[in-house]
Symmetry: C2
Subunit: 148 residues, 2 copies
DNA sequence: ACTGGTGGTTGCATAGTACAACTCGATGCG
DNA sequence: CGCATCGAGTTGTACTATGCAACCACCAGT
């Protein structure tokens, strides 16, 4: 196996390991906001409000899954649904004040956890790593960070 | 926010995005081997056989979860259980031939999918990215952030 | 008005998970 | 030795996330 294969193999293995860990403990750290709920709220904040269908498409989730997640978030008072006056099929979703607050809290906690692992990393490495992740995840080198 | 914060923020977001995507698509890609099953088989291969308790500890899973996963893998003919002659409480788990074969197949497919996203990456970037991931995941045994 | 397409909800099934209670065997202590 | 304790694993129960399919409501084009 050449060096390229070795690097690909390592990347595959490490990404797998990460995904498994994230999944295994997704609910433990932020009992009030699951990983999926967190990313949905994050997307609402970034996008400034969107439709359930947009969330489903963006996250490759079934619309029924999004529907239920959104219902839960609404029950929890973190998002609001507004009827689109232009199209009565559509519900435009947006964060409530409480939603914004919780999202900010969880973001801070998550970022702290990430930063924890990144202590001692030189600034240059942080930036390169961030760049690689963006490039890997998106093909989206163009998209703004956290686009997703 | 300074550049360091921005990089940390991006890393956090991208790792989260990746975890979510992996989770969403884990089952679709390899219907016969879920992400968790895959990692368990992988660990058995690396370790050359271990106990269910070791798997649980390594992956921060409840022993009941591992028990059921292992049962499923055994039913599928991918792992074997052997009584430890030293301690009759213990079952040493190991891959069967079929388990090895499936694991190899899925590894190839997963690696191909990863390589797909890494086409056009210069060798130097591949190696650096792999190194960053190892470093990020590695110190993490204690408090994996995606893990939380 | 009919037809087809889109946004969303609900019923049903499944996977993965945790926690608690349990069994069985090992280990240690009086 | 006999009993208490510990460790490995299993099983019962419950919950969450998820997908698919069926369905309803609405929009738009013909």
């Amino acid at each position: 196996m050449d060096a390229g294969e070795t690097a690909v193999e390592t990347i595959q293995r490490e990404m797998t390991a990460f995904a498994r860990r994230a999944r295994a403990s997704a609910g433990r750290m932020h009992p009030e906001l699951s990983l999926v709920s967190y990313t949905l709220l994050g997307h609402l904040e970034e996008s400034g409000g969107c439709r359930a269908t947009d969330l489903a498409a963006h996250y490759a989730l079934d619309k029924s899954t999004v529907s239920r997640q959104v219902s839960a978030l609404e029950r929890a008072g973190l998002v609001e649904r507004r009827q689109d006056p232009e199209d009565h099929r559509v519900q435009v979703l947006d964060l409530t004040e409480a939603g914004r607050r919780i999202l900010a809290q969880v973001t801070v906690r998550r970022r702290a956890a990430v930063r924890e692992r990144l202590t001692d990393w030189p600034q240059e490495d942080l930036e390169r790593f961030a760049g690689y992740l963006v490039r890997y995840n998106g093909g989206s080198a163009a998209a703004p960070p956290g686009d997703d």
